[in-house]
Every structure is written in structure tokens, then in C-alpha cells.
């Protein structure tokens, strides 16, 4: 607005012209083959329940391992949801400096809660998490960090900062899914893998968001929300490795143009953290 003399109509006109130029140039692009190593994935969880920590998040952990081995990159964020599990992330850090950065980011986020006079229990885990059976932030965090798999933690990213190479990265960011997903988009993620326990229709407006759950009731109820059903692993009918093979096929299919339910239903938004990240 400063560049437009605070005139919203001038700003809108410039945006329309820039958008039209972009659409004109994009129209000449055609789909091309690309290796798995070209993928950067944001790993998110929302409205989690204990099935998330048992199956859905460890499933993303297997994907993080496989993509890392193939030369791709993954990111987890939601710093508050490292509390009680930050020693596991720090223990996998590529360097001692990364371990310190991870621990300090978690402690700083905990101090934000304390300074705000917030008791995390009731806030994170929130009422939905608690009703579903998650009792403490430690329990939720231990499920959350399973998304990062078993490989080295390459580094701590600031909100929206791009990974500096392949492997698993951790972003110091808000746990609120809209802010978290936008942080991954800013960092260059082309796709999101988003686990849910009881259901969560939110997706990124920019990066196709593959929604998945392992809760059998949720999978049966939200057929047009969930792009991947991991409930057969929860019910003990399939192994988690089998599910990882199938999920990788869905990821490749989505990267090749298959629409996610979020795209079909035109859900989604982007929300940038502004006045300090929300807890």
C-alpha cells in the first residue's frame, strides 16, 4: 500500500495486471517428468487423536525416510508439539549446534505459553484432542514428532525458511495448521501430507494437501475429505510398510496431477503468522 499511495484501487489494478502476466506465461508450461528428489513435502497433523501417534504419523515418518533416501526434503513444524519429545529430535540432529537450536526453540515456545499465562493442557492438547484421548502435550508431541521418521534432523528453519538440502528439517512455527501450512508453502513445499484423527477439512490453497487418517470411524465417515485411508493398519490388517508403499503411489499420483479432495472441493486458504506466532 505504501508503494500505491495507500490507494487500494491502484494496488488492485497492479495485482490484476501482474496476475494476468503470470497466467499468460504459465499457460505455455507443460507437464514434465521429475525425480522424487525434486519433492519438498510439508508434514502436518491436525485434530489429532491417539491413532495419529500410533499409525498415521509414523506412516509419514516412513515417507520422510524414503523421500530423504531418494534425495527429497521434508519438514515438520508445530514447535509447541515438540515439548516432551524435543530430546528425540535433538538426539537425531546432524550437528550439536542443530541439537541446541531445536531444544532452545522448544523451550522458547514453552516460555511463550507461560508468559501468556496459558496452561497448555486445554489449549494444546485442545478440547478435541482431549476428548479423543490425548492427555498431555508430551503425549501429543511424541505422536507428532513420529512424522519426522528416523533420519538425521538436518537443521532448524525459521518460519517460511527454505530447506538448504535434502532430508528432514524442522521449522520453528505455530501449531495452528493454517499458519503452519503457509510456512511450509513459503519454504518451497509443493505438497502437504496432513494426518488427522477425528477429521480436519483445512488444506493449503497453493500446495495440494494429501489428507489421511488411521481412525477407522473417521475414514468411514469422511470419504470425500481423506485422500488416503490408513485404518487397515490400525485394525491390524496390513503392515505400516504396506501402507507406506501405497501412500508413496498417492504422492506420485498427486505430483503427476491427480487432484486431492481439497482441490476438488476448492477448500483451502493461506495464513501468514504476523504478530508473533500463535501457540
Amino acid at each position: 500500500m505504501d508503494d500505491c499511495g495507500q490507494d487500494a484501487i491502484t494496488l488492485t489494478e497492479r495485482a490484476l495486471r501482474a496476475g494476468a502476466e503470470l497466467a499468460y506465461r504459465i499457460s505455455a508450461q507443460t507437464r514434465q517428468a521429475a525425480p522424487l528428489s525434486a519433492l519438498i513435502l510439508g508434514l502436518e497433523c491436525g485434530r489429532s487423536d491417539p491413532s495419529s501417534g500410533l499409525v498415521a504419523n509414523p506412516l509419514l515418518g516412513l515417507i520422510a525416510d524414503r523421500l530423504g533416501n531418494a534425495g527429497g526434503a521434508t519438514m515438520i513444524g508445530e514447535t509447541t508439539e515438540w515439548l516432551g519429545a524435543e530430546h528425540l529430535l535433538a538426539g537425531r540432529a546432524r550437528t550439536p549446534a542443530v541439537a541446541d537450536a531445536v531444544r532452545n526453540a522448544a523451550l522458547a515456545r514453552e516460555q511463550m505459553a507461560i508468559a501468556a499465562g496459558v496452561d497448555l493442557t486445554g489449549n494444546n492438547p485442545g478440547p478435541t484432542n482431549i476428548a479423543a484421548g490425548l492427555s498431555s502435550i508430551e503425549e501429543k508431541s511424541l505422536g507428532n514428532v513420529a512424522k519426522s521418521g528416523s533420519g538425521p534432523i538436518e537443521g532448524l528453519l525459521a518460519y517460511g525458511e527454505a530447506p538448504r538440502g535434502p532430508g528432514v528439517w524442522v521449522m520453528d512455527a505455530a501449531s495452528y495448521a493454517p499458519e503452519s501450512l503457509t510456512g511450509f508453502v513459503l519454504a518451497g513445499a509443493q505438497m502437504m501430507l496432513f494426518t488427522t484423527g477425528v477429521g480436519n477439512s483445512y488444506v493449503s490453497a497453493i500446495a495440494p494437501t494429501i489428507k489421511l487418517s488411521a481412525n477407522p470411524e473417521t475414514c468411514a465417515r469422511l470419504r470425500q475429505q481423506l485422500d488416503f485411508d490408513a485404518s487397515s493398519v490400525f485394525r491390524g490388517r496390513q503392515t505400516i510398510e504396506w501402507a507406506a508403499d501405497r501412500l508413496l503411489e498417492v504422492i506420485v499420483g498427486t505430483a503427476s496431477g491427480h487432484a486431492t479432495w481439497g482441490e476438488v472441493l476448492r477448500e483451502g486458504n493461506e495464513t501468514v503468522s504476523r504478530f508473533g506466532a500463535a501457540l
Partner: protein, 99 residues
């Protein structure tokens, strides 16, 4: 990480003193708790909702509660074996300014 199981509940680590029930459990029910390759029987003395936690041992007030082989909080009251473990008898140790 979870194994293929037909059990009623899963204990994720031998260090754990709670298990997660994989289907809702009613008071008095005898349930099969899986831990790795082993399974053991436990009597539920309270009903436990789907995916919530059940105690596997007596846990005294102030004792740590373990799941995933990690600490998930501290007992705030006497927890007998076979009861529902949740926010009424377990408290987080983080984000309170009292750690």
C-alpha cells in the same frame, strides 16, 4: 510403531505403565494387551473409551506415566491397575511455569 495386532489394547514399550485401547472397553472386561511379540491379559475395572489409555500397574501420586517408552506426564492421584488414565488423574509437566 504399531505391529499388526488383533489385541484389545497395545503397550508401545515394555517401559510403559499405560496401554492404548484399540476398541472401547467396559468395566469388568478381560482384555488382551499386546506388547511387541507378547500379549498379556488385564481386567479393566473401569470403562475406557476408544483410543484412550488404561493403566497396566499401580501408579502412585507423583509417579511418572510412560507411553512410547517416554514420559507423558505425572499421576495426580492414586491410579490402580485397569483404570482409565486421562486428564483427571494425569497432568502434563510442561507449559505450566511450575516444571
Amino acid at each position: 510403531m504399531m505391529a499388526v495386532t488383533d489385541a484389545d489394547a497395545i503397550r508401545l514399550s515394555p517401559a510403559d505403565n499405560v496401554a492404548t485401547v484399540l476398541r472401547a472397553v467396559t468395566a469388568g472386561q478381560s482384555i488382551c494387551v499386546q506388547c511387541g511379540d507378547r500379549a498379556e491379559m488385564l481386567t479393566a475395572t473401569e470403562s475406557v473409551p476408544f483410543c484412550h489409555k488404561i493403566s497396566l500397574a499401580a501408579i502412585a501420586p507423583g509417579e511418572l506415566v510412560w507411553k512410547y517408552g517416554e514420559v507423558i506426564g505425572v499421576a495426580t492421584g492414586e491410579i490402580r491397575p485397569g483404570v482409565h488414565v486421562h486428564v483427571h488423574n494425569l497432568a502434563s509437566r510442561r507449559g505450566k511455569g511450575t516444571r
